[in-house]
């Protein structure tokens, strides 16, 4: 299966490239774009970007695998990322992760069979003052309780 950017993404990439003195610097933004366009960074996406940016696929792949935010496998429609670091743990994050794990029937790192949710335990999200915290796709949800999480997840279409 081959992939390709939309016209909008292509022109965004051109804008991005113009901001750097070096074409290599566009790799991270291009990977973000690819993830937005294709849902995840597939092998095809890597080959496509390599071609587009003029680097060997291995170079793009080496970057993509270094950073946790680039999903090399498909993730659910909702990527539920719960912080397990110290400030969140002190306020019960471990129980919340267990709760969500039971609720969705998957362990951290797994996706529900219907492809709706992926659950991940992540490191500090930089929002420790409103711990416990989780990120669902682009959005932060803060000062969580089991009830808040239930209400939120049940509401997602």
């Amino acid at each position: 299966m081959s992939v390709a950017f939309s016209d909008a993404a292509r022109s965004e990439l051109e804008r991005i490239r113009s901001r750097y003195p070096d074409r290599e610097a566009a790799i991270l933004p291009a990977l973000h774009l690819a993830q937005r366009e294709f849902g995840y960074v597939s092998d095809e996406a890597i080959v496509y970007l390599a071609d587009l940016l003029g680097f060997a696929p291995a170079r793009i792949e080496g970057v993509a695998t270094f950073y946790t935010m680039y999903n090399r496998k498909p993730v659910g429609k909702y990527h539920v990322q719960i912080c397990r670091n110290i400030s969140c743990s002190l306020l019960g994050a471990e129980h919340l992760i267990e709760h969500v794990s039971k609720k969705l029937g998957v362990r951290p790192g797994e996706t529900t069979p219907d492809g709706k949710f992926t659950l991940t335990a992540v490191e500090c999200l930089g929002s420790c003052g409103t711990a416990p915290v989780m990120q669902v796709n682009d959005d932060y949800h803060e000062s969580l309780t089991e009830e808040k999480i239930d209400a939120l997840l049940d509401r997602l279409p």
């Binding site: 930089g126 929002s127 420790c128």
Partner: protein, 422 residues
């Protein structure tokens, strides 16, 4: 109390240029552009502005490390990676007052004859990156960025660069590699970024808060800023308090505030009448303190005197009833996860620390494990390319030194007396 950064945080409109301008925004830039560059550097030096990213290096001195030769362009990179657990202040500046940062960038760039600047924002801060991008567009539209800024003849291009999830990218040379489109591997120093940094050009990396302080310094003068703090540590600090306190959050306080006051007065003390067991005072890497050690002022020198650091301003409050072995295990898992793997002592050492502390917590600790932990620490400290290894060692050693009986008890009874969960 005088505030430098948070004065208008409650005003939701303050993140927009129009509102920022109504409250005197970009006047400091106008003032700066009207005078010589050296004057700004002098004021920043007089201000005793210490880097707010963790190491506390004097900003004015760092700026002076740039080569005198202006023939090669130079770069200003803003470190908005904010990854140190317990730290959540730069997010506030970006979300609530992005123009403070942008005005600071324009002034600092002018002062250092820099025409190219990047704001490196951690990947997860999608909302903040959007707000900053909008603010950057506003700054361009109003002539604060771009060509011939406010008719001064000074040019500056500024853009946002998003990270993609990696704590190590907060380390400045890793951040530079990441900006260049590479894996975030820290670089061996020297050369220091001020001579060879981003794209091979002389580069200054400063934290968001450090640069956001600059407009105030230009407006009010370095001496006034210095006077807000203590002798060698000028100004206020954004201090984040997290853990089970009544009012967790970010507080802007003079650098000389007492740690006890931060916890008990500003953050309202512990929730539900719980007692204090320990404090990690300046982000997860800083050595832990016992309750009898918190009558200390929160400035860099005073904290160093008692063997810890104000670091990145993240106060993590640990209540009585918390298992310190478990708390350390959470931290060691983090450093093991985030080691970039370039240096053997760090790659292996962080893995070992998480494994040994984990087995102690799970009731499988062995005799000699504590000596082993300290031995691993000795083999890591100061032996690596970047300070991430040290950042893991400091909590490990201090937890063991100050709460040793708890570790010993785990090994002796072969289980966690606190029931394994927070």
């Amino acid at each position: 109390m005088e505030t430098v950064l948070t004065t208008h945080f409650a005003n939701e409109q303050y993140r927009h240029a129009d509102t920022y301008l109504q409250f005197g925004g970009y006047e400091a830039l106008r003032k700066a552009l009207a005078g010589p560059r050296e004057r700004i550097v002098d004021e920043v030096k007089k201000a005793n502005l210490r880097g707010r990213g963790g190491a506390g290096f004097p900003a004015g001195v760092k700026w002076g490390f740039l080569p005198k030769d202006l023939s090669r362009p130079r770069v200003l990179v803003i470190n908005a990676d904010e990854g140190e657990p317990g730290t959540f202040k730069d997010r506030q500046i970006m979300g609530k007052a992005p123009h403070l940062l942008l005005e600071g960038i324009a002034i600092a760039s002018y002062a250092m004859s820099i025409h190219l600047s990047y704001i490196y924002i951690r990947g997860e801060f999608i909302r903040e990156a959007r707000i900053v991008e909008e603010a950057v567009a506003e700054a361009y539209a109003r002539g604060f960025f771009g060509k011939n800024i406010l008719g001064s003849g000074f040019d500056l291009e500024v853009s946002v660069h998003r990270g993609a999830g990696a704590y190590i990218c907060g380390e400045e040379t890793s951040l530079i590699n990441s900006l260049e489109g590479k894996r975030g591997w820290p670089r061996i120093k020297p050369p220091f970024p001020a001579s060879v940094g981003a794209f091979g050009l002389p580069t200054i990396v400063n934290n968001v808060e450090t640069i956001a302080d600059v407009p105030w310094i230009v407006t009010h003068g370095g001496e006034k800023f210095a006077a807000l703090g203590v002798e060698k540590n000028g100004g206020t600090r954004l201090i984040g308090v997290s853990g089970p306190v009544n009012r967790p959050g970010v507080y802007e306080l003079p650098a000389g505030v007492l740690l006890r006051e931060i916890i008990y007065t500003h953050a309202g003390g512990l929730k539900d009448g719980r007692q204090l067991k320990a404090v990690i005072p300046g982000g997860s890497s800083t050595p832990v303190l016992r309750p009898d050690e918190i009558d200390v002022t929160y400035d860099i020198e005073s904290m160093a005197k008692i063997g810890t650091m104000a670091g990145s301003g993240g106060v993590i409050v640990i209540p009585e009833g918390t298992c310190m072995v478990r708390a350390l295990h959470v931290l060691m898992n983090f450093y093991a996860h985030e080691s970039c793997g370039q240096c053997t002592p760090c790659r292996e050492g962080t893995g070992w620390l998480s494994k040994i502390v984990g087995r102690i917590e799970n009731g499988q600790g062995r005799e000699g494990d504590l000596e082993l932990v300290l031995d691993v620490c000795d083999n890591m400290m100061g032996r690596t390319i970047c300070p991430l290894a040290d950042a893991a060692v400091m909590p490990a050693q201090s937890f063991l030194w100050k709460f040793r009986d708890e570790f010993e008890y785990h090994i002796k009874v072969q289980k966690c007396p606190f029931g394994n969960k927070f």
